[in-house]
C-alpha cells in the first residue's frame, strides 16, 4: 500500500520553539489524487500540522518522520519541499512590499523548475488562472499581499496553487473570514486544481463551507494534538450537524 503513497506521516510529535509539545504521534497517509480533510476545534493543532509538513523552522519535530514520495523530508527546508511538489496556502500570508504578485509567481515557478519561464505562455496561463478566480488582472501588478483584503489574499494563494501545480496542496483555513461568494470562487479554484492534475489535497478547516462542492475521501478529526478519529467524506456532514462534541468526549 505505502509504495504509492504521496505523503506519509509516521508517529509525528511536534513542539513549538522547543517548548510544550503540540502534536502527538500523528499518523497520516495521502495518495495521489486523494482529498483529505483535517478538522478539529480551535487550538487543536491543525495549523501546526500544516506548518510542520511544510517545514516552518519554528516547529520542531521531536519524534517521528515525514515522507514525501517515499523520501524522508523531515529535515528538509521549506523551499526543497516546495520543489519536491508540496504547497501550503497560508491562513494569513505575509505582505511583501516591492514585489508584484505576478513577478513573484514567475520567480517561484522559475525557482521550482529551474527552467526559464517563457513570458508569453506565462502571461496566458496567469490570465486564465485569474479568470477562474474572477480576479482582476490588475492584481498581478500589485505588491504581493500588500493592502489585500482577507478575500483577496486567499484568492492570491489559490492563484499560486493553480500556477505552481504542486502534487500535494495543504490548504490552511482557506475559507476563514470569507463571504459566500468568495468561498464559491475559492472552491472553484480548488476544483480546478483537482481536475487539472490529479492533485492531492489536505484541507485544514474548522468549518465545512468550503467542502460542500468538493469530493472528500477521508476526514480526520484532530483534538488536543491527537487524531482521534478518521472516517470518510460523510463525517464532514456529521460534524456539520453535531459539532466536535462526540470526539472531544472520546478524548
Amino acid at each position: 500500500m505505502s509504495e504509492n503513497a504521496l505523503l506519509q506521516v509516521k508517529d509525528l510529535s511536534v513542539s513549538i520553539d522547543n517548548e510544550l509539545p503540540i502534536l502527538h504521534n500523528i499518523n497520516l497517509e495521502i495518495k495521489p489524487g486523494e482529498t483529505h480533510v483535517l478538522m478539529g476545534p480551535n487550538g487543536a493543532g491543525k495549523s501546526t500540522l500544516g506548518f510542520t509538513l511544510m517545514g516552518n523552522p519554528h516547529y520542531c519535530v521531536t519524534k517521528g518522520n515525514i515522507l514525501f514520495e517515499g523520501q524522508d523530508i523531515t529535515d528538509l527546508s521549506a523551499d526543497k519541499r516546495a520543489k519536491a511538489g508540496m504547497f501550503l496556502s497560508f491562513q494569513n500570508p505575509h505582505e511583501v512590499p516591492g514585489i508584484s504578485l505576478g513577478s513573484f509567481i514567475r520567480n517561484a515557478s522559475h525557482a521550482q523548475t529551474g527552467a526559464p519561464v517563457k513570458l508569453l505562455a506565462y502571461k496566458k496561463a496567469l490570465k486564465s488562472a485569474m479568470d477562474v478566480l474572477s480576479m482582476d488582472e490588475a492584481y498581478a501588478d500589485r505588491d504581493l499581499n500588500v493592502g489585500f483584503s482577507g478575500g483577496e489574499k486567499k484568492k492570491a494563494e489559490i492563484l499560486q496553487l493553480l500556477m505552481l501545480n504542486p502534487k500535494l496542496a495543504i490548504l490552511d483555513e482557506t475559507d476563514s473570514g470569507l463571504d459566500v461568494d468568495a468561498v464559491r470562487t475559492v472552491s472553484k479554484g480548488i476544483e480546478e486544481y483537482q481536475k487539472k492534475k490529479d492533485g492531492a489535497l489536505l484541507i485544514i478547516t474548522h468549518s465545512t463551507k468550503i467542502l460542500e462542492s468538493l469530493h472528500v475521501d477521508y476526514t480526520h478529526v484532530l483534538v488536543k494534538g491527537n487524531i482521534v478519529h478518521t472516517g470518510d467524506g460523510s463525517l464532514v456532514n456529521e460534524i456539520n450537524a453535531n459539532g466536535f462534541e462526540r470526539f472531544v468526549k472520546e478524548d
Binding site: G55, G98, R106, N107, A108, A111, D143
Partner: protein, 472 residues
Amino acid sequence: MADTNNKQVVADIDRSLYDFKDVESEKDFYRMAEGLTEETVLKVSEEKNDPDWMRDFRLECLKLYNDIKVPDWGPSIEGLDMDKISSYVRHKSDMKGKWEDVPEDIKNTFERLGIPQAERESLAGVGAQYDSELVYHNVKDEVAAQGVVYTDLESALRGEYADMIKSHFMKLVPPTDHKFAALHGAVWSGGSFVYVPKGVKVDIPLQSYFRLNAAGAGQFEHTLIIVDEGADLHFIEGCSAPKYNVANLHAGCVELYVAKNARLRYSTIENWSKNMYNLNTKRAIVEENGIMEWVSGSFGSHTSYLYPMTILKGDNSKMEFTGITFAGKGQNLDTGAKVVHQGKHTSSVINTKSISKDGGVGTYRSSVIIQKTAKKAKASVSCDSLMLDSISRADTIPGMDIRTNDADVGHEAKIGRISDEAIFYLMSRGISEEDAKAMIVSGFANPVSKELPLEYAVEMNNLIKLEMSGNG
C-alpha cells in the same frame, strides 16, 4: 506584468564588471606628485590654463582648506592621507568629440562599462571622465539644435559662457562650507557644464560617467547645471573605480540651478570601489514653482559623506529625494539629505532606505530646516533601515529645525529586520533562503529602483544581488 521586477532571474553577476584594472602604460599618463602644496595647486592651474580669477580662487581655497578642521561628527577619515593622494592624473591626449578618437585603453574601459552602447540607445548626450579629465563629450545633434549646452567645464570657462560660469561657480557651495569643499576649490579638474535654455524640455537623459582608474589618486570633478525658466532635464551620473589597496579620494562638487517653473531630475548610482573616500558635495537651489528631484543609490566606497542639499528659495518650489544605501563589509556610509525651506508653500519629501550587512555601518543623516519665511511649508521624511545581521550597524540621525508655526512637518523612521515568517512564506513556494532574502531586500529597495531608468534599475538590482551574495 512588471517584468523589470524580475530580479531573481537575472544572470549571475560578474564582479569583474567594475573591478577590472585597465592595462595601461605609465608613459601615456601625466601624474602629478602626491601631496597638496601651493606649488601643486599652481601646477594644476597651469595645466588647466585657468583664467587669472580662477587661479587666485584656487589659492584662496587652499588657505581655507588648511584652516578648516575635519568634521567631528561623521565617519573617521583617518585612513585618508592627503600626502599620499595625487590630485591630478590625465592621459596625454585631448578630449575627443568622436568615440573612435578616444585612446584605445580608455575606450576599452568604457566599452566594458557599457557606456557607448547606452549612449546610442537611450541618452541625449554623454560625458566620460577618466581620472582627472574628460576624455569624451558628445551631444546628440537634435538636442544641440534645441540650444542645449553640454560640454566640459574647462572649455566653457573660456568660451561663450565664461561669465555665466564665473557668476555661478562655487557660489552655491562656497569653499568655506567645509574642508573638502575648500579642497575641491583648490584642485578641481574636469566635470561638465550643462545649460538648458528657457522652455526647452530635454526628453531623454544626459549622462556623465566618472571612472577613477589610477591608484592613490583623487578625483575632483565639478558639475554645474543651469536649467533655465520652464526647462526640463534629467541628468544621470554614474561612478566606478577598480579596487586598490591604497586610499582614493573623490571630492567632487555638483551645483544645480533650477529656475522658475523648471524641473531637474538628478540620478546617481555610485559604485566606487571599497578603498574610496567619497566626500562629495551636491547642492541645488530652486526658484519659484521649480522642481528638484534626486534619485541616489550608494553602494560603493569605503567611507562616504553624502547629503545632497536643496534650497527651496522660490515660492511653491518642490523637492523630492529618493535614496538607498547598502553598507556591506568594511564600509561606513554616512548618507542622507538636507533641505532648507525659504519660500512660501514649498514642499519637500525625503524617502530613504538603508541596508546594513556583514559588519557594514550605514547611517542615515539629514536636516530639515524651515525658515520663518516659509509659510505653509510642508516637509515629510521617511527613513527605513534593514539590519541583515548583528555585526553591522544601522543608525538614523535626522534633525529638524522649524521656525514658523505655519508649517506641517512629519517624520517617520523604522528599523528592523527581515521577518522569519516572510522568509518561510517565500521558501514554501520553492525559493531558497538566500534568494528569499535577496528578493525581500530588492522589494525593500523597489521604491528607489522604480525611479531609475530601466538599465540603471537593472544595474542597481545586480549590485544588490552582488552585495547579498557576499561578493560585493
